[in-house]
């Protein structure tokens, strides 16, 4: 023992740190990553590698040379953004699109606001929307690259896209489903056609359970999104089951699961309090379904999250934690 340490209380700290949290998110993403690599093969590996490396590199360069602040790469947050972005891209997407997306996510969405904790929008989602608008062809090319396992089916569109197109043509849902050989079981395990991370609902749910078990996230936001999607689509489906897709379909297809578990729960861009989280989740669920049913795009999760991101400060102000003794 040399000199005694002295500091203000508390003298102990919970076994928790930013890097541990971010690492846990990466671990929770692993099932989805593995499934996507298995089914989409080298192109998925390529997207992941390009996206993660670019994110980390851009963050390093910006902190080092532009901001001249301590390097924040070691906190794993750039890696999380990288993985999430890759999982949000079509598997056949060219590598340079992923790179541009990564540069945009870190360089524009995250660092221009001041880095970790300061950004208003979720970097991965904002980058995805940016790419969708900038490279609509590359971003909606749902061709299936050769994977390590599974059939080499070449799918032309996502389920949601097929449905939207079919409905626009005037078909009924039962006709569309019958034509596309749709089953719920398929969406749970291997749902070819869609972003790399949307392939398996089960893999995402495993990640969700892991995040909950590690107390990284609270279930409020995710569950309120699911509940809203189910209730909203349920009402419409009951009114006209041939025109509006059913609740389970809406929950299991597209980006609802991936977005609700990993993107909407991003600390920085979601409300602080549990009550605020529920409002946030309901908002995302509603907007998603509105876009899916009535919008021009087949999928609305990304837009919904981005729109709700922008009102988070207001939600934070309106839904504060109840204070002790100030009823």
């Amino acid at each position: 023992m040399s000199k005694l340490l002295v500091s203000p209380s508390p003298h102990i700290h919970a076994d928790i740190s930013t890097s541990r949290i971010m690492r846990d998110v990466v671990i929770a993403l692993l099932p989805s990553v593995i499934v996507s690599i298995l089914y989409y093969g080298w192109s998925s590996v390529m997207l992941l590698a390009v996206s993660v490396i670019t994110c980390i590199l851009v963050e390093y360069l910006i902190t080092r040379f532009l901001m001249k602040s301590p390097c924040t790469v070691t906190d794993w947050s750039a890696a999380v953004t990288g993985v999430l972005l890759a999982l949000n891209l079509p598997p056949a997407c060219p590598w340079w699109v992923a790179m541009i997306g990564a540069i945009f996510a870190i360089g524009v969405v995250k660092m221009t606001f001041g880095g970790l904790g300061q950004n208003l929008f979720n970097p991965a989602i904002a980058a995805r929307v940016f790419l969708l608008v900038s490279f609509p062809v590359a971003m909606t090319n749902w061709a299936k690259p050769a994977g390590f396992i599974g059939v080499d089916a070449t799918s032309g569109a996502t389920l949601l896209g097929t449905v939207k197109e079919g409905l626009a043509k005037g078909d009924t849902l039962s006709q569309i489903f019958a034509a596309n050989d749709f089953s719920y079981l398929q969406t749970l395990f291997v749902n070819i056609g869609g972003s790399a991370g949307e392939i398996s609902a089960l893999a995402i749910l495993i990640g969700f359970v892991y995040l909950l078990a590690r107390k990284v996230i609270r279930p409020h936001i995710t569950l309120s999104i699911w509940a809203t999607v189910i209730v909203f689509s349920g009402i419409f489906w009951l009114i006209n089951p041939e025109q509006y897709t059913d609740p389970l379909f809406n929950l299991l297809t597209g980006g609802v699961l991936l977005g609700s578990v990993f993107m909407a729960t991003d600390y920085v861009t979601s409300p602080m309090s549990a009550r605020g989280g529920i409002v946030f989740g309901v908002g995302i669920g509603l907007l998603t379904m509105l876009i899916r049913y009535f919008g021009a795009y087949p999928e609305g999760m990304s837009f919904a999250i981005l729109i709700m991101n922008s009102v988070v400060p207001l939600i934070n102000k309106a839904f504060k934690q109840k204070k002790y003794g100030r009823a």
């Binding site: 040399s2 000199k3 005694l4 340490l5 002295v6 500091s7 203000p8």
Partner: protein, 337 residues
Amino acid sequence: MTTTIIWTIVAVTLLGLLLAVVLYLVAKKFKVEEDPRIDEVEKVMPGANCGGCGFAGCRAFAQACVEAPNLDNNFCPVGGNEVMKKVAAVLGVEVKEKAPMVAVVRCNGTCENRPKTNEYDGYKSCKVKAALYSGDTGCIYGCLGCGDCVAACQFGALSMDPVTGLPVVDEEKCTACGACVKACPKKIIELRNKGPKNRRVFVSCVNMEKGATARKACKSACIGCGKCEKACPFGAITVEHNVAYIDFNKCKLCRKCVVECPTGAIHDVNFPTPAQKPAPKPAAKPETASPAAAVETAEAAAPKPAAETKRPVQSPATAPASPVTEKEAPKPEKKEE
């Protein structure tokens, strides 16, 4: 087609006219009467908005100057006498010239003089540290070394000396706004007369403990022995609560006290030669030759030996042995900017 265009032009013009009338009426009704001299005074202010004058900013100060009957109680420390003269000219009043001031750090507790007794591990803020306990050295009055003063200084005039662990004042940059004085929870920093040719003598210690205790905590503490008080021919020095204080209005810079002080707690700065008594090696200090020497702030940071014996010697270019304050101190300041 043509009629649409004409109608549009007419409608927009009418709307514009109507709004102009409304604006005119509103402006007339809610006009704030303000002395135009406030604007004029504000123009001559430095515009630092540092609050050193005691007002919220330069405009508030200008307003106070305009409203006050004379300028005796208002002084802009940043602009100094020059700005005050301009203010006086605008307002057409007399202004008394004030001696320029400078912030002085009154602590000798370098790492060497004042060994650490424990290791502080909390948030690096003097305020937080002072609220927690007496500090990580034996001296309960001295500098805490977390740099609240450096953070408070808007002019980049303060920096922490990594060697001594004490703040150093850059005389050139210091405007004597007093922000550091307010920021220091230990009340170590004082605004003192800059002095003729920037020469000053001051007690660089505020330890009010009894001599033995103070000495035990810090080799260069003022022990309140009173030798300086007796030596001072001008009655400028008083010893109270075991610590000496030199009234800079009475001090004539004779430096008898510097020689007398048994611990080297009294510092003299910017003198060409060291204070003499049985002086070891009197040597000329190349003060006028180099701007670096003028920067030499020495207060506090010049440790005790520097005040008595070390006063070197060579030209600044070849002065590796010159006190840290000359060579090292300005460096971190540049980083600050």
